[in-house]
């Protein structure tokens, strides 16, 4: 297994190179440059030249690209042009927020999807199956941002006298500083609920469809019939024998969901004012802050590689027939 893991990690290097190159080229092809935000109608030409020179924007693209690669080899992501702070610091502030939101989203998607899909398979063609299918499809069809805004409106506005769930931010901006540690924990948890549901509910519907389909195939297998014939309780048959095999495609989905989590986070983070990587990268792209964009995508790529690697390892753990060779 360790050879496999090492091989995968080494393959990440050319992947990172391709991502960095692609991002750099795309930013270069975009009109304007990062120094534009510092210019006003009154800015004299010599100041403009100084600012451009300071950020090396007057150097040829190839020179800047090679300098970028040299720095990345030394894990030097440079300073953000817009914020004039180390990229590492800026990413370090935002990344935990996105990871936290992603973790909660995964908790919404997979447990919900697996439970609903399993029930649907067991109760195939019964009213509960039909109802769950309709709801799953409806949720799956909803755009994230629409669901996000709907939740904000319903829960944080119309039902605010009955349910206290905040509609933006990661902490109570006024009271957090005066809360005790347990209260702060509860406050942070409350702020995770709506964004987690907004990001996860639609995908939970999709996951339920996968699990249902996979379970229907598995519960018709001979070994499941054998398990029943042995007199095992139905719960044991489903959970211990059928579900484990039915989860294999779900594990693949988990690995593939990492990029989705980060891309979906862009919209949900904006709607809920969640200060994560999604918002950060959008701002960096709008301001053509090349060091920050590259730093963010570097981290994204590493997380995607790690997510897929975890999915592969989990796959092998669940199915002993699978070997890393």
């Amino acid at each position: 297994m360790w050879r496999y893991v090492t091989r995968k990690l080494l393959l990440a290097i050319p992947l990172l190179f391709c991502v960095v190159t692609l991002i750099f080229v795309l930013i270069e092809l975009s009109p304007g440059d990062a120094a534009d935000k510092f210019f006003s109608p009154d800015t004299p030409p010599e100041v403009r030249q100084n600012i451009v020179a300071k950020y090396h924007l007057d150097e040829p693209a190839l020179v800047r690209y090679l300098a970028l690669l040299r720095n990345l080899v030394a894990f030097d992501f440079g300073r953000s042009i817009g914020q004039e702070r180390p990229v590492v610091d800026i990413v370090a502030e935002a990344l935990p927020n996105t990871l936290l939101l992603s973790a909660v989203t995964l908790l919404v998607i997979y447990p919900t999807g697996i439970i609903v899909g399993t029930i649907q398979a067991i109760r195939q063609n019964r009213p509960v199956d039909t109802a769950a299918s309709v709801v799953s499809l409806a949720l799956y069809s909803m755009p994230d941002f629409w669901l996000a805004m709907l939740l904000q409106l319903l829960v944080s506005f119309y039902l605010r006298d009955f349910i206290d769930l905040p509609s933006s931010g990661i902490v109570d901006p006024v009271r957090y500083d005066f809360m005790s540690a347990p209260e702060q924990l509860v406050d942070r948890a409350k702020h995770l609920v709506l964004p987690g549901i907004a990001m996860g509910l639609a995908s939970a519907g999709g996951t339920a469809r996968y699990v249902r389909s996979s379970m229907l195939e598995i519960i018709r297998q001979d070994y499941v019939r054998t398990a029943r014939a042995k007199g095992l309780r139905e719960r044991t048959v489903i959970v211990r024998h059928a579900l484990r095999n039915a989860l294999l495609p779900v594990v693949t989905l988990m690995g593939l969901s990492v990029p989705y989590l980060f891309s979906g986070a862009v919209i949900v983070e904006s709607v809920f004012a969640w200060p994560g990587m999604g918002r950060l990268i959008v701002q960096a792209i709008y301001t053509q802050d090349t060091p920050l964009v590259i730093g963010c995508f570097y981290v994204f790529t590493l997380l995607v590689v790690a997510g897929n690697l975890l999915a592969d390892v989990a796959y092998a753990w669940i199915d002993p027939r699978i070997s890393f060779d």
Binding site: S30, F38, N50, K54, G196, R279
Partner: protein, 552 residues
């Protein structure tokens, strides 16, 4: 895991509705003071006064501290003492002498002196710093720095006298502490460790800044100035909420107290449904226009530009887009780039070209544009009158205005294609003059200087903000004459003439000046929200004791 989800929801429900914090007795003074929560779309760029990146940076810095000369506005800028106790001009207008207060200190106890001001200007004058205010020192001697007479007296020497308001604004930058920054690397000043932890000498200080989340300011306990500057709120929290809809929900839920830039339709609804939210109009702060690319043969002929203006029902567009259900208009038709808020300077005698489709068609025909082939689009010499109107993506008002304009142009046989571009791309295309017609806007400049937008390109120096480009040497001469006139009272007739010439030439189709709507929770009193800043005299804002929501 469904149980975990249920637990999370239960946590939310168990919390109950929001209520003021509780049981431990806050100190007597702070219990009678409240917290103001502001929300806006962008984070602060910097709190270094000489390197602002957004208007919000400047607004908040000025709210927290004292400018040398405080600005009030009543048809023009009125000057009040701030950090400067008094000032006077030499007879020839080339020297501004300022006497500073001697009772103000930075938070660390070091006195604020004229040395700080001189140091600040030395940074501004240094091109390596890259301050957008470098033009402020263009006409200052020696080397763009004021002359320090002693700790509380400073003089600015100008190469020549020009408009006093402009000169005063050039000498009005908020100082930064010399003892903190004197050894800083000037090329990376924005990234200095103290750049975003500024020392204050004013009534407020920065308590905490969480990038992309919130900024907290609190009363400066080390403020040594007069008592009447002492803040009457416990804290001010500036929250970053990018989405307009989210900010609106938070305002209506009572989770934020102040929101800028509320849409007209939402203002209507707030007025009806939320009496606890007070709506304030900030004055004619920004305008929209359609700029013609004057190098395009379609727009070279003045008769054509006038015809297009006459074919546009600007009042009708204002009625549809910027007027409330109750008939309250939040915009007025524009005749130039000088804001109507500068009464006396704004030329109220200019009557906008009347909306007259028949007259517009006739003018186009006089210019040779007729529908020779009967396809509904006028043509001339085989060329159809067809162009693309570009605007920024994501601005609903401009998108709607584009559609209305396109429809109105059809009436006179002009075919308009609509294009929306991402903001950076759009403004780059304007500055590089790679557009046909652009629907864009300007913010009001309270210090009159039309040269920014209208000055002709110079040899080796293109005026990138003159998108047309429009060039009228006679107008340039008039503008320079206005800029050299010491006061607005005397220069006003010149500016009125400038506006008339520009309107006659129609380099833009001037659309409207807009009133920005700010919503503020009604429990706040003694508030001043005006055209200069939405946070004016923040130290005076307060909440009556019986309405305090956040007791600490």
């Amino acid at each position: 895991m469904q149980s975990t989800f249920a637990l999370l929801v239960a946590i939310g429900c168990a919390g109950g509705p929001a209520s003021p914090p509780g049981t431990d007795a806050p100190d007597a003074q702070s219990a009678t003071r409240d917290t103001l929560v502001i929300a806006d779309r962008n984070d602060i760029g910097t709190l270094l006064s000489i390197l602002p990146q957004t208007a919000t940076d400047a607004d908040l810095m000025e709210a927290m501290s004292l400018l040398p000369i405080a600005n009030d506005f009543d048809c023009s800028i009125k000057k009040l003492p701030g950090l400067a106790k008094s000032w006077e001009w030499s007879e020839d207008g080339t020297i501004l002498k300022m006497e500073l207060r001697d009772d103000l200190t930075w938070e660390d106890g070091v006195k604020v002196t004229a040395d700080d001001i001189a140091f600040t200007y030395s940074l501004v004058a240094d091109p390596t710093v890259g301050s957008p205010y470098i033009n402020h020192v263009e006409h200052m001697t020696p080397d763009g720095r004021p002359k320090v007479i002693d700790a509380t007296h400073v003089e600015w020497h100008f190469t020549h006298a020009y408009d006093r308001d402009t000169q005063a604004s050039h000498a009005n930058l908020m100082p930064i502490p010399k003892h903190i920054f004197e050894n800083a690397d000037r090329a990376t000043l924005r990234g200095h460790e103290k750049a975003n932890q500024p020392l204050s000498y004013g009534p407020w200080r920065l308590a905490k800044w969480e990038p992309n989340q919130r900024l907290l300011i609190e009363p400066n306990p080390n403020f040594t100035g007069p008592e009447h500057y002492r803040p009457r709120l416990n804290r001010v929290i500036y929250r970053v909420i990018p989405e307009y809809a989210t900010r609106l929900i938070e305002l209506e839920s009572g989770n934020i107290d102040l929101m800028n830039d509320i849409g007209v339709a939402d203002a209507d609804r707030l007025r009806e449904e939320h009496p606890e939210i007070r709506l304030v109009r900030r004055g004619w702060r920004s305008m929209d226009f359609i700029g013609w690319n004057l190098t395009n043969p379609l727009f070279e002929d003045l008769r054509v530009r006038r015809a297009l203006a006459m074919a546009t029902d600007v009042q009708g567009m204002i009625a549809k887009l910027l007027t409330s259900k109750g008939g309250e208009a939040y915009a007025r038709q524009a005749i130039g780039t000088i804001t109507p808020a500068l009464c006396g300077v704004h030329n109220d005698d200019i009557k906008p070209l009347a909306y007259d489709v028949a007259a517009a068609k006739k003018l186009l025909a006089d210019a040779g544009w007729t529908d020779s082939d009967g396809d509904g689009v006028v043509d001339k010499g085989g060329t159809k009158f067809e162009f693309t109107l570009t605007t920024t993506d994501g601005n609903k008002r401009r998108a709607d205005a584009s559609v209305l304009f396109q429809d109105q142009m059809k009436q006179v046989g002009v075919s308009v294609n609509l294009e929306k571009l991402e903001a950076n791309t759009f403004f780059t295309s304007l500055r590089e003059r790679r557009f046909e017609a652009g629907l864009a806007g300007w913010s009001a400049d309270l210090v009159v200087d039309p040269s920014v937008v209208w000055a002709c390109d110079k040899e080796g120096n293109r005026n990138e903000f003159n998108y047309g480009p429009y060039c009228n040497p006679e107008l340039d001469t008039l503008v320079q004459k206005g800029l050299s006139t010491p006061n607005l009272r005397d220069s006003a007739p010149i500016w009125r003439e400038v506006q008339q010439k520009l309107y006659d030439d129609q380099p833009y189709l001037f659309l409207w000046w807009m009133d920005e709507i700010v919503g503020i929770n009604d429990r706040f009193v003694n508030t001043t929200i005006d055209i200069i800043t939405p946070y004016k005299n923040l130290h005076e804002w307060e909440v009556p004791e019986d309405k305090v929501k956040y007791a600490r």
